[in-house]
């Protein structure tokens, strides 16, 4: 069924939305998203997957170069800078999550920063904020075209579907393309969408965000050269609609008096580098452990435990009783609940090999049962997690988490968000770099030239020759 004008309305809105349309709420929320994305990206440059993506990208040469976050000396062709920085952002599954589910910032910010470094004129903080919000907004709009997008995914990994489109929209905005070319950028990008969910919980997952960033950027640049795709790409079922079983698009409102989705629907920020669903399990497990300790008066001990029951929503790709790799562990209700019970916290270090293979942890995992109650919907807006710990003596302690701290219904305080950033960023940047980024992003709307941001992102604490692998970091922690 061909409906008219939806694609055109997107092209018009991407072109027409100006800085005056950004409200205070939207500016505040998007600055928080930028800060968090930069932080998780910086610590992400210490991962194995990042070093592979970087080594691959360094095969290419170009005249234009863009920065690699957390590297003082390394630059890459802009597409590859967008790629590796995007990989870094998603490398530990630590980046933001929206509703309906996707990771909006990692697909957009790396592309914009890489692009900004190549543009001849000055790019202000407000320009960057505007393009960023256009990229995020387009993703939100597209996800509202189907009910399939509202549940935990089964077919395609959402950033690989909407992330590319968001990056294309954002890049087209920053390039100042006319409306028709903005629409063509979306059409070209649509031909780069779609990665299957089976690669989530593998080392390839972070590439979905890296690729979203660079393919969207590329689509905008090809559109600028005059390449055309289908001008009704968003209107047609055989266009963007191929990625959804139930597809029902609608036009974007005109730029005047625009209502941003981000104003009404905030993002969630993660406290743990793991799939979002794990946060419910961890918060519930921590509370159950506290209840147990209160009741028994002694510190939690593995030998006390007969059984642990987890009541979670049904979702095959985060149901992993004995994860073998760090990526699987980040996608395992069982693992995260047990780590929380054993250690009273779950941090980046919890996913290191040594911690993962502890006999105590394996033993506790063997005592876990998973139930999927009917009323527990596989949706980040509605799910809950219940943890029931049964002792050898037959006593039961139950805790339930409906909304974890960091969820959009219970946002991280600004202080905690900045703490998360500082902790992440200081693994790579010196104090001046860390503070510089916090300050620049905090005042983004007043920044005259966002090149200053890129320079802070290169203020590393150690010489580049020191190649630190994630194993080394885990030992250090």
């Amino acid at each position: 069924m061909l409906r008219k004008g939806i694609t055109g309305s997107f092209g018009a809105a991407i072109h027409g939305l100006g800085p005056l349309r950004l409200t205070d709420a939207v500016i505040n929320r998007s600055k928080r998203m930028m800060l968090d994305a930069l932080g998780v990206g910086l610590i992400g440059t210490r991962t194995d997957v990042f070093s592979k993506a970087l080594a691959y990208s360094q095969m290419f040469r170009s005249d234009e170069r863009s920065s690699v976050w957390g590297r003082s000396e390394t630059t890459l062709p802009p597409h590859y800078a967008a790629f590796v920085n995007g990989v870094a952002v998603h490398s530990m599954d630590f980046d933001d999550t929206w509703h309906p589910a996707t990771h909006p910032s990692g697909a957009v910010l790396p592309a914009l920063l890489a692009l900004a470094e190549t543009l001849p004129g000055r790019v202000s903080g407000l320009d960057l904020l505007l393009a960023f919000n256009v990229g995020v907004e387009v993703q939100g709009r597209l996800m509202r075209f189907s009910s399939e997008a509202y549940n935990i995914p089964e077919r395609f990994h959402p950033p690989s579907v909407v992330g590319v489109m968001g990056s294309a929209a954002a890049s087209a905005k920053l390039l100042g393309l006319p409306p028709a070319q903005c629409a063509h950028a979306l059409a070209i990008a649509a031909s780069s969408c779609g990665a299957p969910l089976a690669n989530a919980a593998t080392q390839t997952k972070p590439l979905h965000i890296g690729n979203a960033a660079r393919r969207g950027l590329e689509a905008a640049q090809l559109a600028r050269l005059g390449l055309e795709g289908n001008p009704a790409i968003l209107d047609m079922d055989c266009g963007f609609g191929v990625y959804y079983k139930d597809y029902s698009p609608s036009a974007m409102a005109a730029a005047a008096d625009y209502k941003w989705i981000l104003e009404e629907q905030d993002v969630a920020f993660k406290r743990i580098p793991a799939h979002l669903g794990m946060h419910w399990a961890v918060d519930a497990a921590l509370e159950a452990r506290a209840k147990l300790e209160n009741a028994t008066g002694v510190t939690f001990d593995l030998s006390q435990i007969r059984r642990v029951t987890l009541r979670v929503p049904p979702s095959k790709y985060v149901d992993c009783p004995f994860p073998g790799t760090e990526h699987q562990a980040r996608h395992s209700f069982q693992f995260n609940a047990c780590a929380a019970l054993l250690d009273n916290e779950v941090t980046a270090a919890s996913f290191g090999a040594a911690r993962m293979n502890r006999p105590a942890l394996r033993e506790l995992l063997a005592r876990v049962e998973v139930e999927t109650p009917e009323d527990n919907a596989p949706s980040f807006d509605k799910m809950y997690c219940e943890v029931e710990v049964e002792t050898q003596r037959g006593q039961s302690h139950v805790a339930r988490c409906n909304t974890f701290y960091g969820h959009w219904r219970k946002p991280l305080t600004q202080e905690d968000l900045v703490d998360k950033f500082s902790s992440n960023a200081s693994s790579v940047l010196c104090a001046e770099g860390v503070e510089g980024v916090v300050e620049v992003v905090g005042n983004m709307e007043a920044v005259r030239d966002c090149a200053v941001l890129s320079s802070y992102l290169r203020l590393t604490s150690a010489p580049e020759e020191q190649r630190v692998t994630s194993r080394t970091i885990q030992r250090a922690l």
Binding site: K52, A53, A55, Y56, M59, F60, R61, S62, E64, P77, P78, H79, E154, R155, F156, H157, S160, I188, A190, S191, S192, C193, G194, A195, P196, L197, A198, N199, A200, A201, T202, Q203, T204, L207, H208, N211, Q221, L222, L225, G226, L227, E228, G229, N230, I233, M236, C238, G239, F240, G241, V242, Y243, P314, S315, K316, Y317, D319, P321, F322, G324
Partner: protein, 400 residues
């Protein structure tokens, strides 16, 4: 949980006749028993001696044809655009350009594929780069689908050679977590047999390739051949023109397929995807060629007159399937005469393959648009001898 897993691995067991190892396989089927692993193994184990003479012959024809269409394709607007983009993005340094560097880097990297595991990962990484919607067919973006397929696949292999890992079950059908089956609604995977047992036969042995005679969607070839036969009836067997004034009505009987059904195509890309355009061009000129899609040819009043007289019919017995479809044209002349043409298998279809002579003629037309005649002939010779060629650089150096 165990019962769910049993359901998951049942199809594979049924196909392979393996014992069920459900209890131990809490993680799923043993890694070496998956469809995905069988593909990885095959890719890394298959050797030149496994290529039969039929497969060699057919694939050399494919290589020749691809080179030819690629060479003439380098004269198109979309190629120029893509080249601009790549040149702008990547420096033209001899040592470091994408093209030159690929040539020198690739061999040692691919030599690292000592086991099937890396090959499986390459496939899985590539799956994350798959998928473009049909709406961009019949647009200028369509050619990028093939260009991207090529480079994304290469990228996946290079990343896998560096140790990047992805899903070991990407080709297997796992309920609730889509792998390659994300792209198909009814997906039933089968493992690839090992080439070593002698049990493996290349599909190309049984199912030949179709080669196009003109640059348009494959479906166009049926209606073009049908219309060309009517053209011959109208003008006799010498050269001549068909006068639209004589034609009252044209009926085309074709399969139902939205994206190749366009009464008045606006662009060259749309014209390549229009039953109506290709039928009328062949009716008018006796054939469809590269030149049929030029702006001048597309705007001819005679052609537009014919287009306005076309009616479409979609008979029930004409499925949208390249193995079973047909194309039929019925022309009613002003005087009342009715002429019919029908094509079940166009010349170039796998059931009616191009002769080697025809294939080379096509190649000479294509490659000759860009290369000197001596190079064109050398290319034909080199590809003919491809299986005996010591060093592929002999081929590569003829391509420019």
């Amino acid at each position: 949980m165990i019962s769910t897993l049993q359901k998951t691995i049942k199809p594979v067991s049924a196909v392979r006749g393996l014992h069920k190892s459900a209890v131990e396989a809490l993680k799923g089927p043993a890694p070496e028993n998956t469809v995905t692993a069988s593909y990885g193994k095959f890719i890394s184990e298959v050797k030149p001696q496994h290529l039969s003479s039929v497969v060699l012959h057919r694939s050399k024809r494919m290589v020749l044809d691809s080179i030819g269409v690629g060479l003439i394709g380098s004269t198109t607007g979309v190629f120029e655009l893509a080249l601009q983009h790549c040149k702008h993005t990547y420096a033209p340094d001899d040592i470091s350009s994408v093209y030159g560097r690929m040539g020198t880097r690739l061999s040692p990297t691919l030599a690292a594929f000592v086991n099937g595991v890396a090959c499986s990962h390459a496939l899985a990484i590539a799956a994350s780069l798959s998928g473009a919607p049909m709406a961009n067919a019949a647009t200028q973006s369509k050619p990028l689908h093939i260009g991207n397929a090529s480079r994304f696949g290469l990228e996946a292999a290079l990343l896998a050679s560096r140790g990047l890992e992805a899903s070991p079950l990407v080709l297997d059908a796992v309920a609730g977590v889509a792998g390659f089956n994300a792209f198909y609604e009814d997906y039933v995977p089968q493992p690839l047999e090992s080439p070593n047992d002698g049990g493996h036969m290349f599909l190309l042995e049984e199912q030949d390739m179709g080669f196009k005679r003109f640059p348009a969607h494959l479906g166009m070839h049926w209606v073009a051949d049908a219309a060309a036969s009517v053209h011959k009836l109208l003008v006799g067997f010498g050269p001549g023109t068909v006068s639209p004034a004589k034609v009252q009505k044209i009926i085309l009987r074709v399969p139902k397929s939205k994206y190749i059904d366009r009464p008045f195509p606006d662009s060259e890309h749309e014209a390549r995807h229009s039953f109506q355009f290709n039928a009328c061009s062949a009716l008018l000129d006796g054939e469809v060629t590269v030149q049929s899609f030029s702006p001048v040819a597309m705007r001819r009043p005679d052609l537009l007159a014919l287009l306005s007289r076309v009616h479409m019919e979609y008979p029930q017995d004409n499925p949208a399937n390249f193995n079973s479809m047909y194309g039929e044209i019925q022309v009613t002349l002003v005087g009342g005469d009715i002429l019919k043409g029908r094509c079940d298998t166009f010349y170039g279809h796998w059931r009616n393959p191009l002769t080697n002579e025809s294939l080379r003629k096509k190649f000479r037309n294509n490659a000759g648009a860009v290369l000197l005649p001596e190079k064109v002939e050398r290319l034909i010779d080199v590809v003919e001898e491809l299986d005996r060629l010591e060093d592929c650089r002999t081929l590569l150096s003829q391509l420019y």
